[in-house]
Subunit: 507 residues, 2 copies
């Protein structure tokens, strides 16, 4: 009884058929007829051009790189308020377009009285002062847009980049799903300090005045408030999800994540962010060594990139010079089904090729290549762009150059790993077979962390081998670099909605 | 020429048809015949039972709640090494099972010589000492497993929970995709300090000895090394992605994310984690007020929960008492297509109902309900579990109880918001129409942050309204609470692979 009395609204959705109004992308994909009925569509004005008795505007809702051309006939009062950036709701009809450049247009007939059939309407939801609006129609510099990061998604390129991220992520999900993987959430906060992958951010100690928050409703048992460390031990932001993924792979066998990672590196380059997203995968119980790992990565990338939506990719490459056009062709070529498998060479072979090149061109590189030394960016660039002319897997690096967890090859010198180098991007993926032999791993860890294995901090990692360890492999791919490769974006700061780097964090 | 000479391996995948070997889940879904050919399957031994000339083991690779029954005939030497937890590769045949409890079994015939057709094989990939293995077959306490978080995914319940997370996330992705949303990555590191949503973690200042890392290959411009703040200003871990999502929604109109959030709250409850994942969505240009927001959330939840895989949900609810069975029935009922829309009531109506209840039962609550006061957990519990008996939306709370960004109703007292309360879970979702009127928002922000709007820190948020502001709405849902609701998991620490809370962060 009380229920009936106190409940005002039992409306609610017929959820089976729930659907928000169509987006402009959906409208553009729907059929039109000259006598289409009147509908309502909302969005922001991207541009407007007024003539005596007619006005043309491009309307966008961010759902597509393509805007909706709106044609205002009769030029009523409402059209005056339509300025670049304003949010509007229009009533009109989606009809075939007689003009060039688009199949469809949205006809808003303002010459008719409101009561008449098919009368158009213009309703300004939010105005935008054209004098003050920071996103003017002319080209805006990259730096200017970084300074206005809360508004820069309103530009065509940044919006296309964000949609491209969404598409790539969906394609990744489809590929991994087909291969029997489980998507998992591994922790951001960890006691591990970087695993040698670079500087990590550390969580500050709690201030002594930090209040012990205990909301009455939670019937909370407050933790000791005198602890300076919130977690009773130092906490860092993770630089990689690999070790935690490995723990899950000893149960679920095939796991992956696309998660944020953090590096407190002060180097300012177009390839590094302090906060970035990484695709990481680990899988166990399969065989085939480093070649099988490369097979997986190549199949994944080809499938993911081939499925990227052409409209957004086109929008991102638009206006590039001849060199840009050539890069795009090379990208399409690299992932096409017809093309040969990507080239694979060992580190040893790569160094030999570099040395041969230096022999013929003594001034070729700033750093001399030699076996046992890190491959520099200039070396990788030459290998991918000049020697191979496409993506190249470089495998089996010297053990001394790589982290403790990579599987040692029988030669006693190298490990079963690879870097995938891509023209104009550099290292896109790094991966390896993981050392599954407990005794070999333990020896390597003692060498790296000391005889107490870093005060036992990594004992858990050894446990994974001790109890039913199985052959496994994995890799990590910088998601912003992938976005940059597919979209022809030269700086990772334009491959993520809100970039963070040393000295810079807006919003 | 050089290319030919230096490249050793041009193998690589035929990527169009790339496929890892089938998982046990895939095998169990494939057809069997009595004369099936010999194949190889790998996994971990979950249990083994030995008889004189035959042994039975359950093999898992974590791909399914259901294991593969392996039958060893002939009982060779290899079977002795098969202990709980060991990783093995078996050669045998997938045949129809004559036994009860499974359709198929994996027959490993060890009685035949290796060279014979269909000869079975057992290969131990990694042994596991049954005396030392921490994951013994008997029931292990929740606390014990939390202490062994690197191994606890090997238990049926935690593995099922992780797979359930994967499924729910996929269903979420499908739902939002159908509604025209774009998945976006909003930042974890932010200058915003909590937005009133609770205590935030702060990034420590860089130590003065912090090296300025500048890898030679990056041609890096090092950032000023004297800065104590890496980003030249204090950085916090985000408590919510809402404000950044709103910025993107003014371009892409429909955006969502499933991302980590952080709260440095010391209260220790079964409903709170220091690091958790939140589904957050914002969409613009649509109408309908708070009821439309509830419609969306209800449609989303019904669709996402209905699509959860029965095998994993069954595994999680297994062994519950009668009360648990009743809860599961209530869950299925709540999301079934046949059921009425979920009840909606205003905060004012909810308080009146609570007051009526107190009038009849003076000792009903610890805290007296009254208009203008926060609804306590005990109140929400009664409303959802006793009054309504199902999920209930409570709408239009007093403005003074809610954050500055919620849209003010015309009554001058309340805001257009809702909380979704679910039996045995509590608050699962919170959302609102956002205040799109620049002047109303600015007034509210001055009241909250002072006349300078927090030294201008939130000016960007006002900008979003100033330049083409549009009606918009959004919500946030704690992902671990959703997992708990669907899986009948009482403590959020068992709803995430690696839980973190005050005083506790393993690995």
């Amino acid at each position: 009884m009380i229920l009936r009395r106190c409940i005002s609204s039992l409306s609610g959705s017929k959820t089976g058929a729930f659907q928000l109004p169509p987006t402009i992308r959906q409208l553009l994909a729907s059929p039109t007829t000259p006598d289409a009925p009147a509908i309502t569509v909302s969005g922001w004005i991207k541009s407007i051009r007024r003539q005596k008795n007619v006005a043309f505007a491009v309307l966008t809702d961010g759902s597509s790189s393509q805007g909706l051309q709106a044609v205002f006939v009769g030029n009523g009062e409402g059209v005056k308020a339509l300025t670049n950036g304003s949010a509007v709701r229009l009533t009109g009809r989606l009809v075939p377009s007689p003009g060039a450049g688009q199949d469809k247009e949205f006809l808003v007939d303002l010459g008719k009285g409101k009561a008449q059939a098919n009368a158009g309407e213009v309703h300004v939801l939010g105005s935008c002062d054209p004098e003050l609006y920071p996103i003017q129609k002319q080209a805006l510099s990259t730096e200017y847009l970084r300074d206005h990061s809360h508004l820069r998604a309103r530009t065509d390129a940044i919006a296309a980049m964000i949609r491209l991220r969404d598409s790539l992520q969906k394609n990744i999900s489809t590929f991994f799903d087909d291969q029997g993987f489980v998507y998992t959430h591994t922790p951001i906060l960890t006691g591990n300090d970087a695993e040698g992958a670079g500087e990590s951010f550390r969580i500050a100690e709690m201030s002594s005045t930090h209040p012990s928050v205990g909301h009455p409703p939670h019937a909370a048992t407050p933790a000791p408030a005198h602890e300076k460390e919130f977690f009773s031990r130092p906490a860092h932001l993770t630089v990689s999800h690999q070790l935690h993924l490995e723990a899950l792979a000893t149960s679920l066998s095939r796991v992956y994540t696309l998660s944020p990672c953090f590096r407190a590196e002060r180097s300012l380059t177009g390839r590094h962010l302090a906060e970035f997203w990484m695709l990481e995968a680990e899988w166990a119980l399969t065989t085939g060594g480093v070649n099988a790992t490369c097979d997986f990565v190549e199949a994944c990338l080809r499938s993911v990139v081939r499925g990227a939506p052409a409209t957004d990719v086109d929008a991102l490459w638009k206006g590039k010079d001849a060199d840009g056009e050539e890069r795009r062709r090379a990208l399409d070529d690299a992932v096409s089904l017809q093309r040969e498998p990507w080239v694979r060479m060992t580190y040893t072979e790569a160094v030999r090729a570099l040395e041969d090149h230096v022999h013929q061109n003594p001034a070729a590189f700033e750093y001399a290549p030699a076996w046992g030394r890190t491959l520099q960016s200039e070396h990788e660039k030459w290998l991918a762009e000049k020697l191979v002319g496409g993506p190249v897997f470089i495998t089996d690096y010297p053990a001394a150059l790589k982290p403790f967890y990579m599987r040692h090859n029988d030669d006693g010198k190298t490990v079963a790993c690879f870097d995938l180098i891509v023209p104009h991007v550099g290292e896109l993926v790094g991966g390896s077979v993981r050392e599954e032999r407990a005794e070999v791993l333990e020896e390597q860890m003692r060498a790296d962390f000391g005889p107490d294995l870093g005060s036992g901090a990594y004992q858990w990692y050894l446990d994974l081998r001790k109890y039913g360890g199985a052959p496994h492999m994995g890799f990590g791919m910088g998601f912003e670099r992938l976005v940059g490769w597919v979209g022809g974006i030269d700086n990772v700061r334009e491959s993520i909605p809100f970039p963070r780097w040393a000295g810079r964090m807006l919003l």
